[in-house]
Amino acid sequence: MAYSLIGKDFTPPDIRGKVTGKAKYAEDFSAAGMVYCKMLLSPMPHAQVSNIDVSDAMSMDGVVGVLTADDVPAMDGAAQAILTNTPRYVGAPILAVAAIDETTAADALEKIRYDIEPLDFVLDPLQSLYPGGTNAQAAGNVASMGIPLQEIKWTARDFASADPDQFPMTGKAVSEWSYGDLEKSFSEAAVVYDESFVTASNSHHSMEPRSAMSYWENGKCFLFGSSQSQSFMIPGLAAYIGIEPRDLVYIAEYCGGGFGSKGAAYPIMALPAHMSKKIGRPVMMRISRAEEYYLGSNRAGFQGRVKLGVASSGKVTAVDLYIVQSSGPHNGYPDFNSAAGAVSICYQPNAMQYRGIPILTNTPPGGAQRGPGQNQIAMVMEPLLDKAARELGIDRLEIRRINAPNNDTIFGGRQRAVTSAYQTEALNKGALAFNWERTKKRSGERNGSKVIGVGVGQAYHSAGAAGFDGLVRIAPDGRLHIHSGIGNLGTYSYAATSRVVAEVLQCKWENCVIERGDTRKHLPWNFGQFGSNTSFTMSRSNHAAAMDARQKLLEIAAAEFGGSVDEYDIGEETVFSKADATKRLSYAQAAQRAIDMGGKYAGHEIPDDLNPMTSASAKAIAGSGLIGVAKDNYALDATPPALAAGFMVIELDTETGRFEILDYNGVIDCGTVIHPLGLASQVKGGAVMGIGLATTERIVYDPQNGLAANVGFNQAKPPSYLDVPSTLGTDAVNIADPQNPMGIRGMGEPVMGCAASALICAISDALGGHYFNRTPIVPDMIINAIAERKQSHKPLQVYTF
């Protein structure tokens, strides 16, 4: 279908602020009388704090208040509190001091006396599973979202069942599913691989640290924060503050990067709100880079084992997967389950068994990071598929085509269908642009100490949800106001999905205003900018609201000129009679009629199925124009997938273990392309993050003291300009999805995993197919592999340099 706006590039309204410095991030706000707070962070990975004496600190000039764990809500189960007397990781906030400036606050922290008793701590999940192993929390070592805090130990027999270098497969899991006849399917395989593996945790390190500022006015809490969502996080944030959602004014115009770490409400953001309430002054909490490392979450690490069976045809017959997840000390994020779903959809095994268990560790809290689970497991599975291809004499691209998900795909423990899937098309498009047939022949080509490696990688993430609300308003001046509560992560999809409204209402983009970034803009209940969902989810709810406004325009015209609504149409920001073009109302006139007619037209009557947040927002703007408001009730009976394929060629120096990426092409299957330049930017940015995930980034801990070894950017090694090619190729399949009114699906996460796994495969290819069993693959691992030396880490060891 031809659209006038969808699929076209545009200038997002928030970009001017970014290039002029006028964009305001949380730390750029200030308020009269504002004071600053600093936190006392735990120096120990697990400890008990007692006998806190703040009297000397409070007697200092300029100190205005202290906030301790007693002042903030206690948490159930394994959940993380804002402040705690039982810190469970180095860097956990114990208390905070507010003062007229940060120097004074920091000096006051030195004057606080307290006792701190070290408790046993654990970094390695398998050690916590040993009989008698340490628990990261006194009450247990297992918890996750939806999995209550509990203690689980494996038996000595479980550990003895496997070779010491292998992951034991018999221990108790908390999450498991299977389908098909596993034994029979393995027996049908021509090759079976059985590999233990480790994928490292890595820090999010968003460029903008999660600073926040808060004050109270007339019983309402005003909070300026950094987040990937706007409406979706309000209930959680209000709960942390201890108020009703309606009493929270949340301002988040820009977010300086989140990558999953700022998706929903997070505890530390509520600290300045509590401090401000206690001392009666606005409070700014500036977060340093080191604090961001501790509080900004990290991707879960995996220890696991996978058994993969492939038939002589190249068809994957069976997979048996077990994952132990390193979750941090709190609920973390269920990467382990997502990883299993990704294996099922990407390789379509006839039979699959999955078991998983999330283990609490005394490391910084785990959180969702771009492709949580899917992207780690892509780096485990893709090179294994290559191993099968080599042994069976099948082209590595072809083996992926043979197993690629399509419209008939059923996957996961619940055997869900997909809305549509075109991974074969993505592979084909990428292969063409990359010139796979010619490039793959370069594999193993040598130039002195350098050798060429070629890789293709794939990744998956679900790409959308349903059931959220849309809210639009045509004002009496004729302008179209699109209320978006999705948040502003920096992908511009908040704006691209707003264009769906303009498209439906055939409104010029210049006449549209996006209302966002502030609760006071009367925003609807929307999902957030995470989980590759925005483009699918928000385009549906915006479409629903736009269709409601369209219907009301037609009804208003019918009421004005007579006849039925189907005698009218819209175009050029007017509603008109199809038979008599002189019977025409401009949108401005129609908006005024809506106000005069009242009722549903002006938003006084609204549907019953709206979320209370949307209802309140609709009521607040009722009577100010023509109101379109609706819940997304469009059918959704399957999982919308985002699937990606990446192609990479590298030149690896066998003397240094370093490599240069010579070419990369990434292709995404995400339905209709809504914003080409934005899509290209995501595919490329995802590739850059994927390169870091595959080869440089991991968090490292000193096993003796539980101290973090790589807190800053310099040691955490996110890729710089010089680590990646200066030009990256991108494309999209661009076939409409049937379960989105405009055919759109999301795409943000697999574009990282496909690049990460393509790079792992390219390194492996350069070394003749060596399987590393561990990510990231760092130069010393490559050198050891080339020299056929033992690696410096033990096979299942975690948090290693």
């Binding site: 991030y25 300029g62 959940a79 120097t103 903008e208 989140g258 934005g678």
Partner: protein, 217 residues
């Protein structure tokens, strides 16, 4: 209370540092030397935001000095503490919040400003060392009537930024690059901007922006 971190169905250096980390840090010798030269004895709290509270005097005992700074073509009189960084002065004394702090230790370039035609990490520059040199920040690029600098326009046209937090620094590095080398190759641009980290990985689009700007300037 229950964990308010709502499940979202995807699929279903400073005193804050704990002890023991110093071994992993890179040296910041020049910065420390600057602190010593400026007369500040205690450098440990150099990163902190001090003496900025409205209506409050600076911390007792500090060596306060009223100085003139040439920022974006204007002379600004400002109270500056001996251990105050230029990023702090710009952001919290002069209200120029376009200069961002992302690491505060010279690792990322988000705080890049131009001093006498040279890129400079303002987080690692003591304000007292600036003297009479001219400082240019992101706020100084727009024309008198708010028209965008061609570099800014190019960054818009190529959709350079993603989250935007590193963008002012990227643009200031581009300003210096194109003043010195108006027609850089893509590889020269890449090297010139390599001191500016972008976690979104928007490097390719930033380089497209630089190359477009080079065409129109």
């Amino acid at each position: 209370m229950k964990d308010p971190t709502t499940y979202f169905p995807g699929d279903s250096l400073n005193e804050a540092d704990p002890p023991g980390l110093s071994a992993f840090r890179s040296s910041r010798r020049a910065f420390i030397k600057g602190v010593i030269a400026s007369g500040a004895v205690a450098a440990s709290s150099g990163y902190l935001l001090s003496g900025c509270a409205p209506g409050e005097g600076p911390a007792a005992g500090s060596v306060e000095r009223l100085i003139s700074l040439n920022v974006n073509g204007r002379i600004r009189r400002v109270d500056v503490l001996p251990n105050e960084t230029l990023a702090m002065t710009l952001r919290y004394k002069l209200g120029l919040t376009g200069t961002k702090l992302a690491c505060d230790r010279g690792e990322c370039g988000a705080c890049t400003v131009v001093i006498d035609g040279m890129t400079n990490y303002s987080c690692s520059t003591l304000t007292h060392t600036v003297g009479s040199r001219s400082v240019r920040t992101i706020e100084g690029l727009e024309g008198p009537d708010g028209e965008l600098h061609p570099i800014q326009q190019a960054f818009i046209d190529e959709l350079g930024p993603q989250c935007g937090f590193c963008t002012p620094g990227q643009i200031m590095s581009t300003v210096v690059l194109l003043e010195r080398n108006p027609k850089p190759t893509r590889d020269e641009a890449r090297r010139a901007l390599s001191g500016n980290l972008c976690r979104c990985g928007a490097y390719d689009h930033y380089l497209n922006s630089v190359m477009r700007a080079a065409e129109v300037i």
